[in-house]
């Protein structure tokens, strides 16, 4: 067995355990240092992921696959965890106790995401999923002072359980239809239709739909989205950020593999489901975002809509589609992390997150306002921010596949989305604050904001290197 294939997971798990230990050893007054240790450790892990990601490509007889696609996702997850850890320093400083466990849970959830992206077998898939979700549930309920946080945690655990049940049921049906848990065997078995060449196996159809539903929950696609606004609003802001960028991306990692390599296309049936999810998410997400007055709820609906755009990359197993999806995931990561970092810099750590609290931000902190502006413009898809090119890339591919109506609908809905992004921008730069005092932005938040804004503009103006990389990945995994 070649353990170098799971080197990153091992190190991440080690980080999680060490963080727990540090929390125990460190003297009472100095426990905030676990946050810094966590951030530095994640940064080191990121360096490791780029410099020495492990040469082995599979583990446990192919149950666990460390291919370029998985590696790409792992780098995204580690970056997200690093940024979220930095963002959390301020939140955890306000906690009475259990500061170190917060970061340990973050690390455990990271391990889960990494396993999920490498899973090449239903069992590792499910283990990764739960390993990711359970720490996230605890993190969601972490703000014990807030009733909303506790409520959000409860909702999240119950609804996650339901979605896991659906997923497991689906996986068991697929197992029943194919007699195997390994992706390769399942795909081979399902390729041989049992009930006639055109139709496919009904077990596989129902199993496939249920598996899709399980992950549609994770990426918060309509109609499996209803948990996300409540939970984004209730959870501590950094945790909401991790849900939005980490957990959602992990869902896409799993979906990409399932859709491209495991489930049979079934005469276009499943891609019909993907299209329906995408259309519903774009329409419902963008429309509900319009009347929102709470920034975190607005972001929840906007990220539902973005899940819709990203699903467009999975409609057909095409290299350009996958490559566009990967590009979009990166720009989505930076834009969202930037916005959440800004919300978390407020006096109350972003607990309320009312849009009105952003009033006059332009005067109160020009730096934060400018970075926030760049991130919002990226999500709205206005050049030169990366969001514009990301959408263009995705939609050009959808149009090429002959689904012009789908591209046009996506554009139309992104047009609707301008209305709510511009409302937020207007509050930031054009409305007067009652309290005009300057906001002292914590240094960590400053760093995240600067990085997000730079990355967002940088990816928009010089997209070449990243697109070249995502194309190489797509070319390596899709034939």
């Amino acid at each position: 067995m070649d353990f170098s294939a799971i080197r990153l997971e091992l190190v991440a798990a080690l980080i999680a355990l060490s963080l727990l230990a540090v929390g125990l050893i460190a003297p009472r007054g100095k426990r905030e240092m676990t946050g810094y240790i966590a951030a530095i450790a994640f940064l080191g892990l990121l360096a490791l992921a780029f410099l020495a990601p492990g040469h082995g490509s599979s583990f446990l007889g192919g149950r666990f696959l460390n291919d370029p696609l998985a590696l790409f996702f792992k780098r995204v997850f580690i970056t997200a965890a690093f940024l979220v850890a930095l963002m959390s320093l301020r939140f955890t400083a306000g906690l009475e106790e259990s500061r170190s466990e917060f970061f340990a849970l973050l690390a455990f959830s990271l391990v889960g995401m990494m396993v999920l992206s490498s899973a090449n077998d239903f069992l590792s898939l499910y283990i990764g999923l739960e390993l990711m979700t359970i720490p996230l549930v605890v993190l969601t309920a972490y703000d014990r002072a807030s009733g909303k946080s506790t409520e959000a945690g409860t909702k999240y655990v119950l609804l996650s359980a339901i979605s896991s049940a659906v997923l497991l049921f689906g996986l068991s049906l697929l197992f029943g239809a194919s007699g195997s848990l390994a992706y390769g065997d399942v795909a081979a078995a399902l390729a041989k239709p049992a009930f006639g060449p055109a139709s496919g196996d009904p077990l596989a159809v129902i199993g496939g739909v249920m598996a899709l539903a399980g992950f549609a929950f994770k990426i918060a696609a309509v109609p499996f989205h209803m948990w996300s606004p409540d939970i984004y609003e209730g959870a501590p802001t950094p945790v909401a950020a991790f849900l939005a960028v980490g957990s959602k991306t992990a869902g896409f990692a799993a979906l990409a593999r399932l859709l491209f390599f495991v489930l049979p296309s079934n005469g276009g049936g499943l891609s019909l489901v993907v299209i329906s999810l995408s259309v519903l998410s774009m329409v419902v997400g963008n429309l509900i975002a319009l009347p929102q007055t709470n920034m975190k709820r607005l972001l929840a609906y906007s990220s539902i809509a973005h899940a819709g755009y990203m699903l467009l990359g999975l409609v057909a197993a095409s290299r350009a589609g996958l490559s566009a999806l990967l590009y979009y995931i990166v720009l989505y990561l930076f834009a969202n992390v930037g916005i959440f970092a800004a919300i978390s810099s407020f006096g109350d750590g972003g607990r309320s997150g009312e849009i009105a609290s952003l009033r006059g931000l332009w005067k109160r902190s020009p730096f934060m306002a400018a970075s926030l502006l760049v991130c919002l413009l990226s999500l709205a898809g206005i050049p030169p921010a990366a969001g514009f090119l990301g959408k263009f890339y995705l939609l050009a591919e959808v149009a090429r596949q002959g689904k012009l109506w789908l591209a046009a609908l996506a554009l139309l809905m992104s047009l609707v989305s301008i209305s709510y992004y511009i409302s937020v921008i207007r509050v930031i730069i054009m409305e007067k604050a009652e309290d005009e005092s300057r906001i002292r932005v914590p240094i960590a938040q400053k760093a995240i904001l600067a990085l997000s804004a730079l990355a967002t503009v940088g990816l928009g103006v010089f997209p070449g290197p990243l697109t070249a990389w995502t194309q190489a990945i797509a070319a390596a995994v899709l034939r």
């Binding site: 009930f195 009904p202 129902i206 739909v209 049936g269 419902v284 350009a320 090429r400 070449g464």
Partner: protein
Amino acid sequence: MVNAAIALVLAPLAAFILIAFMTRRTEALSAMVGIVAAAASLVLSIGLLVGVLADPAGAHESIKWLSIPAIGHFRGLEISMGVLVDPLSATMCVIVSLVAFLVMIYSLGYMKGDPGFSRYYAYLSLFAFSMLGLVVADNYFQTFSFWELVGLCSYLLIGFWFEKKSAADASRKAFITNRWADFGFMVGVLLLFQLFGSFDFTELSTVIPLAKGGAMLPLIAALIFIGPLGKSAQFPFHVWLPDAMEGPTPVSALIHAATMVAAGVYLIARGFILFASVPAVMEGMAYIGGFTALFAASIALVQKDIKRILAYSTLSQLGYMFMALGVGSMSAGMFHLTTHAFFKALLFLGAGSVIHATGEQDIFKMGGLGKKMRITAWAFTIGALALSGIFPLAGFWSKDEILLASLRSGHVGLYVLGLGVAFMTAFYMFRLIFTAFGGASTEGLRAHESGPAMAIPLLVLAALSVVAGLIGSPWFERAFGFSFGSFIFFGEGEKSRLDLTTAAISSLVAVGGIGLAWIMYGKKLIKAERVAAAFGPAYRLLDHKFYIDEIYGWIFARVMLAGGRAFDWIDHKVIDGLFDGLGAATRATGRKLRLTQSGRLQGYALVIFGAVAIAALALSTDLLGGLLK
């Protein structure tokens, strides 16, 4: 040539960065930086124009910006960033940088003491960069990117005085209206790429004629045409421009009169081959332009706000340009764009001078300003005469080109419509002049001539409004061997001509308009109130701008926002309600144990299971059918 073009685009960007990051706190320095950069752009643009005059072939260079290789049947995605220098772009560069330069100097006086002085110059520089970038772009993708960027600058500048709620609202309206139009543009560009595999103007000009007659081409042309409709504020997207007058007046002069709103006309000229190959779109363009010209001019007849009169006049003149393009004369359209840039910027800056001096925008609260503000009054009158098309000022030549072009292409109806618009134009402009500048001075209205920073740009633009038209005159052609029509054209160069009959008719019409204004507002022989009362319903219709704003407001509030609220409500209330009934008994016993505030959870779960069931059933219908058989 290419290097000069790149430099003239980047100079204002450098100014923007310098102001934003370094000189923000020193206002005088910020203004200097902005003005120097604009001057540099102007000098380079003139150099470019001289170069193109010597060698009309121009220059074209581009680099690959993003390239996604072709794989199998996938054609690949090649996007380049480049610079295209030709007579069209060189002329436009000169117009943009000249007006930008003059407006920046003017703003030294106009914006003096404003708390956002440095911010203002930063935005203006950013705008100059975006607009020049749009002008030299060599492909649709690049054009679209800069197109959005100018929209963003326009948003920032309309809302510059955001303390006023109306300004903040207007900026939002402008941005969103433009995005709706850009939706068409973007879909069109996507389709264009699907069909030809290229965004490049030069490449497309060779492949489009080959695809003539295809089913896709009309659709693409029509979709792309929607973009210019929005940016140039043509009906039905015109609603944003009058509201955009909430921005500082010099901004209205630069962005919402001379340059950005002309970008739509410019884009059509740039990709003229595309539109010219679809006669139906050309016809549509001509009639939308003609309609907007008439529609906006009629609204201008009853407006009271000096800037709004000018705004509707801009709409109407842009309509003229669309009409010219639509009847197939790119030269006439671009010629009118050029002359209009000068005299409309002049009129706006003149209006700014008046507003600066009096703090008043309602022309009926002004009066007798001519004696107190001599320079402004003269400059404004020259601008108005040029706009009305009085010989030999700039507007005369370009407007006659348009009227002649519509007549020669057989659009007699449009010609007559154009004459009607010319009459209205002369009337509403001189209604303004006789009311605000003539007559007795209003009591309590303090006014003084503006300082040199504001007066000098007025004089320069006044001079240009007098002579700019001559470059399209037969005299110019006789003296130098070329004229506007043989420099910028589509197909074959146009000889400049002076058709005495049409010239005489349109001059008579313009003089008639001025005369009627003199009778009604100068001599007050006919009471304007009586006319308004006599045409009551029509007057109200015009006063409410045909109720278009109300209709759009209703659509947003009743359709989009209500849609969002309805979904929100379904998400939370309907499903809750469903379970309020079903679960009432359990709820009663479990109220104390409940961890969540509402019974939403069961509702959410129901939706999840329901969706799975529906999807599974939908996908297996043929399977089930097969089994039952």
